[in-house]
């Protein structure tokens, strides 16, 4: 079978707007232009970008070993040498927050990766083939989503035992249904669109239809969901760490910093203020990024 017929499906003049490499490049260029116009997206990108740089450069920026106690400097209030003060073991809070950014971003990245890799195939299977396996999987997704997210993550993580790996697995599992539902919806929508029908009727196989036509056209909401899921993952990780289920000490995680600073709330409030601020700013960055991307990628919402 000649593959050129699929390159430009010509059934009744129906064209896939994203089906050709040229169209894809045009879309990328347009995305770049729109990104610059959305204030929210710029703010989000800036915050997330700064965090990534901080996390990557943590050993250079905060050279002092964040896990090393220095009891002669314990519980110092913010000063020039320790802008965010020190904790009960004399460790620099700013340094620990910068190192904590690594933990948060890595946990969020891997957890959302698990959700994505678990959810998208389930959504595609049930949306494209609509068979029995698909509907059983979707019922399972309903069941997972019936649990409050934090509760299920805590239940899984506390069963597996404390630790950062288990926290990532727990957060990742909880996020699977979001991506499954989203990608199922997109596949269902696109499956009935003219250009996909045209591609199927010219004899394109399911792999080709999925990778060439459905994926490029349905990827936008998934990208938005990745950004918002990162925000959720960071909040959940903080909650898990706060109840002792996340990163184990001396690994600096913002949630566990809040937990260990909690008893010193009255004499050293900075222990409770700065790590929480870090969580809020990071989450804010991902929410802005998600909102901005949604405005750009979903033209129906433009101007809202």
């Amino acid at each position: 079978m000649a593959s050129s017929t699929h390159e430009l499906p010509s059934v009744a003049g129906v064209r896939d707007p994203a089906g050709t490499p040229h169209a894809f490049r045009v879309r990328l260029r347009r995305l770049n232009r729109d990104l610059r116009r959305s204030k929210q997206a710029i703010m989000g990108l800036t915050i997330v970008g700064i965090l990534v740089v901080l996390a990557a450069a943590a050993p250079i920026l905060a050279p002092a070993d964040p896990g090393k106690p220095n009891l002669s400097e314990s519980l110092q209030s913010p000063s020039l040498s320790h802008p965010f003060g020190t904790d009960e073991l004399g460790r620099d809070i700013l340094g620990r927050i910068i190192h904590g950014a690594r933990v948060s971003l890595i946990v969020a990245g891997i957890a959302v990766g698990i959700s994505l890799l678990g959810g998208v195939p389930i959504g595609v299977i049930s949306g494209y083939w609509q068979g029995a396996i698909g509907s059983v999987l979707m019922r399972l997704m309903d069941a997972i989503q019936a649990f409050p997210g934090v509760l299920l993550a805590i239940a899984i993580a506390s069963t597996l035992g404390p630790g950062i790996t288990n926290a990532m697995i727990a957060i990742g599992i909880v996020g699977i249904p979001t991506f499954a539902r989203l990608s199922r919806g997109e596949v269902l929508r696109l499956r009935s669109v003219e250009f996909v029908n045209a591609a199927i009727s010219t004899g394109a196989g399911s792999t080709r239809v999925l990778s060439r036509h459905i994926l490029p056209n349905g990827v936008a909401p998934v990208i938005v969901a990745i950004a918002t899921s990162c925000a959720g993952a960071i909040l959940t990780e903080a909650s898990l760490s706060f109840v002792g289920l996340g990163a184990a000490p001396p690994n600096p995680s913002w949630g566990s910093m809040l937990q260990s600073g909690y008893p010193f709330m009255q004499i050293a409030p900075w222990l409770s203020i700065f790590p929480g601020l870090a969580i809020a700013v990071t989450t804010l960055g991902f929410i802005f990024l998600g909102d901005g991307l949604r405005d750009i990628l979903d033209p129906r919402l433009r101007g809202r």
Partner: protein, 311 residues
Amino acid sequence: MVIRRLVETIPVLILMSMLVFSLTILLPGDPVLGMLGPTAEIDEVAVERLRTELRLDDPLPVQYLAWLRNVVQGDLGRSISTKQPVADALLTRLPVTALLSAYALTIAVIIAVPLGVLAAVKRGTAWDIAASALSVLGLAVPGFWLAILMIMLLAVNLKWLPASGYVSPLENPLETLQHLFMPALALGVASAATLTRQLRSSLLEVLREDYVLTARAKGLRGQTVIARHALRNALIPFVTVLGLSLGHLFGGSLIIESIFLVPGVGSLLVNAIFTRDFPVIQAGTLVIALVVVLVNLGVDVLYGFLDPRIA
């Protein structure tokens, strides 16, 4: 419609119970040792008894059915640390969490409705930007951090509110509201933010509808149009989100309750995490999830009354 929705809930409930049951499989090492706690190795009689009780030598489906039979009969196992039946502890603590969640939801609605209406009606103005910024902040700030900040400010420094504790509403309802105010606010802020965003966008959608234009054209005042025509229709999706929020509130109550020492299901669960009390974690998860599903079912039924088009 109500009956169909009821029928649809059954497979979700069954799968949910399977998920909670399968937590047992995730327990590292011997599940019996995991369930009996670190002291189990000494007490071989108890280990053997639990092993036969849980039918651990039987295939998984048989184990699951045996477990499910116990659960349906109200036997949720015994706590490792207190040796008490978990069902009893959950039953006494569930009303507290329910009260806290209802309080939080009330606060969330009181914040969200005016804010959402303001943002939609004054769209694009400074009001809208302020309301939207507040709601994004509400989403980004972790509830438990807000709780800590409030304790520092309102309880420790200003001494306006009690820092922690709980008074039963049967003794002194006013004090209950006072004690639960900070926990409910910390818990409700995220829901308030979600609800504000939801209300704003659904109101904006409704405001474009023809019947709103008609109402305006026939000379109704702006406020009347909003209250009688726009808001009524915009509230329909709002109610769904309200139901979903309750799930978030129950989940969030875990940490909030343990910070404010509120004796609900949440603090019971957090204590169970620290003592590695697996039966309590498993049963608590199941019960909270069950409540959330039933509440959402209730919301869907209510939905039919709110919007005759659906029923």
